[in-house]
């Protein structure tokens, strides 16, 4: 493992971009490494297990990760992750549009 080069931990937003969308109570977030050199680091950082463990009250169902290696992309499908979804949730953002920034805010596993 590479040691961090400075004391400030980098976050996913430093190496990748993302967009989230919803279908019912299922949220999906696609994440893309800007630089192919960082794709392995992105995959190591964003595992289905880590995401589910980090947000246990929000993500109540299964998390599946799809990989598009030739585009340096990951797609996370998170079931029962929208507080009931747009039909039930009283969250101001009942679609979970902002949830891409939950993943972009995670610290990198450097």
């Amino acid at each position: 493992m590479n040691a961090p080069r400075c004391n400030i931990r980098r976050i996913v937003r430093d190496i990748a971009h993302a967009r989230s969308g919803d279908k019912g109570n299922t949220s999906n977030i696609n994440v893309w490494a800007y630089d192919p050199a960082n794709y392995e680091l992105l995959k190591r950082t964003l595992t289905s297990e880590r995401i589910k463990q980090t947000f246990p009250l929000l993500i109540r169902g299964q998390v599946t990760r799809y990989e598009l290696p030739h585009l340096c992309g990951l797609n996370f499908v998170m079931h029962d992750a929208l507080e009931g979804g747009v039909n039930r949730s009283l969250n101001l953002d009942s679609h979970g549009k902002s949830f891409s920034y939950l993943l972009l805010g995670l610290e990198l596993e450097e």
Binding site: H17, G21, K23, N25, L57, L71, N75, L92, L102
Partner: protein, 444 residues
Amino acid sequence: MAIFRIGTGAGFSSDRLNPAVDLVERGALNAIVLECLGERTVAFGHRDRMADPQRGYNSLLERRMRALLRACRKAGTMMITNMGAANPRAAAARTLDVARELGLKGLKVACIEGDDVSTLVPRDAPFMDEPGMLSDVDLPVVGMNAYLGMDAIIPALGAKADVIIGGRLADPSMFLAPLAHCFSWRASDMPRLGAGTLVGHLMECGMQVTGGYFADPGVKDVEKLADCGYPIAEVQDDGSAVITKLPGTGGCVTPATVKEQLLYEVHDPSCYLTPDVTADFSRVEVAAAGPDRVKVSRASGSSRPEMLKVTVGFDGGFQGEAGLSYAGPGAHGRAQLAAEIVRDRMARVHGVKNDIRVDLIGVSSLFATARVRATEAEDVRLHVALRSRQKEDAELMLWEVESLLCCGPAGGGGYRGVIAPCVMTKSVLIPREQVKPTLEVMVA
């Protein structure tokens, strides 16, 4: 035809209009698509239609038609839209009225119906993506609409309609239909239908592929976002396409903007279901092809689904939202006290048992359930939300929040409260042979 030029003039019900006019005037388009329907939008349309049988279509339809019809005729651009929502017939009639007012004699308006399947779906129909069945929902049904594919749209293209208006036309199918018609793609040519579906998928959300919903200053900068341009797809016979936009418009088309849209609201990239095809986006190539030009290729597809998705809309009662702000030293504590007072009094004084959600905007709101670390803010807005079948519950909640102005913690100000109707939607499936799209062509 070597290249088919198709543009997007709306990517959701409330999308911008002036960039659509610009696109028609300067885009030399063969076709423009206005995608204006979400699952819940059609349910709201049904509520509107119940209140007034002449309504139920997109509330911006008249304004959009007035701004676009003459430019479309001048440019030789045909229009396809699902602005008909829950009432395509009334939408088509209103469009004809506008065309006549504009003096567009001979304009052909096609109306596609048959997506309303409320008499065909049994009450014991199981949900598509969760346990249970329709009859489990203890709410009044407002409407049921099947997603129609390109086979519902192509007859209108054959009739040489200038404007095609439908209700629940599937988003990518509105793009795929004119491509398949123009290039004479066979209904069994699944790789090409998959490729055309990718074009539709990338285009259907409008500016989300040209720099909209992308900017993050300092990390992902986008120029002139306030004047972002709608997308154009230059599509070839093999289904590959260049995604671009008009010169001089704001925004950007880059591999990054295209990739974010590639998997937007997609689950398994190798299995994206539409009424037309099981599309495969897993091997799509995305390549820069000049400034604000990105080439997409290698989408594919396999069998056409035998079942069509149906959105069932229910009357969900009302949602009330109310807010009050606190600022300066101790703002967080005062807002927290206000939140406790509202919760306590709604239950104890009014006996309202519905779930009430209280957020402290500035401290923790969107990510409250995710438990991301809260900040210590000095500008905090109490935000209370409640949903109920009884409008009175929402009215009581608004009253309680407003009463904090005199009876709550010190220094609260800026009360606002609003009550809005609610819908609930569920998805079921219907065998496609039971759904019979109809076409009527009217002439201005």
